[in-house]
Amino acid sequence: MVDTTFVRTQMIEPEQAPGASVGAVRWARENLFSNWLNSVLTLLSLFAVYWLIAHIGPWFRHAVWNAGSLQECRSIIQATWGEGATGACFAVIRERWKQYLFGFYPADLYWRPTLTFFLMLAALAPLLFSGLPRRTMWFSVAFPGVAYWLLWGGSIFVPLGIYAGFVIAYVVHGAISARRPGPLASVAAVVALLIWWLYLVGPVAGVLSGTGIGTLTPVQSNQFGGFTLSLVIGVTGIAFSLPLGVLLALGRRSDMFFVKTICVGFIEFIRGVPLITLLLVASFLLNIFLPPGTNFDIILRVIIMVTLFSAAYMAETIRGGLAALPRGQYEAADALGLDYWKSMRLIIMPQALKISIPGIVNNFIGLFKDTTLVAIIALLDPLGLTTAIRADSNWNGIIWELYGFVALIFFLFCYSMSQYSQYLERKLQTGH
């Protein structure tokens, strides 16, 4: 007879996992040598790694840092390491690294882009890490103006005047909405802003800069180059393409026919055109359409094109995040009485953006690397500079050291973005 009746009298307390399931040896056995095929593959991989190091190692070990030309490099290597030895000629980096960082920026003003770079880090910190006091955000708002003033020089009253536009718009909005609430106030604010920016900033700043206060030596856009140029285009593009992408994504999902049509048209058109085409348009064609005599800064034109291009992709990435949210989230926000913009800002976007983080960072990294395409329109970004340096008879024939150096710097920036995005994803994880 089988007794199937069973009543537990005591519950079993949880115990610790057996100690053997941790440790390096166990890890290696499980991951590297779990069966004969894995063991063979592990040994083959180890050999491949050894072979690579054995061949690349000497190239680095023989590297020369002090020389005036590639010929000199070669003769030093032959003299030290014997006939037929090869090695890296990092002397070129040593000679040209400033150019790589600053392009043809006047040498006595190198402190300005350098300072801007560190100020940028300070301005980014409160945006990237939530632990800092909210008040530091003020510097993040002021940074674009400071950066413009430091990089291009000229009178501080130009960026100040542009900022003043926002104050004026705010005052106009406040004054009108106090008397007549409604959309009229917003329209008037925008009109006031445009009038101020288009017609008044120039003369006012001109008069004020006559005082000579806060004037830095002006630097022309064609003197920009190297990583300064890449960062200016990349960071500005990144900063503007995200909000623009959010608006486009919302517009594309809008019920309003015209808003939706414009957004869809914009996204599809920009996505359908290569970035190089847009850059060539910015460089050559735009001048034809603009009134003669207007000098529309080339870097500004490039930034606008890169931003528009990236925003179209960004919009689709974010639309993916919006589509992934359950309908219940929209309904719960509606049911609480939140209006459209509040529910987007407080409920929908924080979640949609979190879902889209990998895609957004993908776009950021893509945009940053695409800044090298400006070499095609004769701007001296790191790749454009490399071509110029290789044309120098002293360094003619050098390839690996230069492109390797550029690749390394790009890798550092892109890898930090990737690491940051993973940190952010972990931080925003609110499940179990």
Binding site: Q329, G337, K342
Partner: protein
């Protein structure tokens, strides 16, 4: 449906709960279509302040759509809906006004997963009612204590059980101090063990005189607190009666069949 959950419910005598003569919701000759599908047909319903109404019916009968029309999560095409004296039209201001006066609890809770429990509860009071943050937090803690989970305030919804999440959802609605509460199958997504804790919360709310419309199949709840049960089928109100009569002496054949199906096992 669990028998256990029904029998454990705190006994309330629905007759002792007072109903005022004031009208909270008025629905007249209301019709709604999804495309060509006529989902709500000629609905007439008046709800007085303090009434507790349970809406039941087979799936696809339009009961959820009906209460979703009351705060315009769904738009009706014909007829009139007046909530708290305001008529629902396409005027966005009225819609937001009504939505802030009408609380809604969903089948799948729909808590905001990126906010803590406390933030879920304070968000709407702060941004819609412009309540100062500190005051909103005090109110939120008051209602979280009421639904018996104040200790979870700092956690995220993903860390709570289904029953706890639904109680937070109720607290979140209450923080807006709504005049009317709508419940859309609040216990259908819950494990049997958790149904009771949510129903207890709802019963407590009923005792305080909240106007409630509840779509549910918890007939025990209906018997315990409802002063009217509405049976819907094919987009129409087929029968409505006070609970005792409704369950013991259903008039229409359709109602009898439905009741025998849900109470039969």
């Amino acid at each position: 449906m669990t028998e256990a959950a029904r029998e454990d419910l705190k006994p309330v005598n629905p007759a002792t709960l007072k109903v005022s003569d004031e009208i909270a919701i008025e629905i007249a000759r209301m019709n709604k279509w999804f495309g060509q599908f006529h989902v709500l047909r000629d609905i007439n319903l008046t709800v007085n302040r303090g009434e507790r109404i349970v809406v039941c019916g087979p799936s696809g009968s339009g009961k959820s759509t009906l209460i979703r029309c009351i705060n315009r999560l769904e738009e009706h095409q014909k007829g009139l809906i007046k909530v708290d004296g305001i008529e629902l039209t396409s005027d966005l201001k009225n819609i937001d006004k009504i939505r802030s006066e009408v609380g809604m609890v969903f089948q799948h809770f729909n808590l905001f997963p990126h906010l803590t429990i406390l933030e879920n509860c304070t968000l709407a009071p702060i941004w819609v009612r412009k309540t100062p943050k500190k005051e909103a937090e005090e109110v939120a803690m008051h209602f979280l204590r009421k639904v018996k989970i104040p200790e979870q305030a700092a956690k995220y919804p993903g860390q709570l059980s289904g029953g706890q999440q639904q109680r937070v959802a109720i607290a979140r609605s209450l923080c807006m101090k709504p005049k009317i509460m709508l419940f859309d199958e609040p216990t259908s997504a819950l494990d049997p063990e958790m149904i009771k804790e949510v129903l207890d919360t709802m019963i407590e709310l009923a005792q305080e005189g909240m106007t409630m419309i509840c779509v549910t199949h918890e007939m025990g709840f209906a018997q315990a607190v409802a002063n009217r049960v509405i049976f819907m089928d094919k987009g129409q109100i087929v029968e409505q009666n006070e609970p005792r009569e409704f369950f013991n002496n259903p008039k229409s054949e359709r109602t009898k069949l439905f009741l025998s199906q849900i109470l039969g096992h």
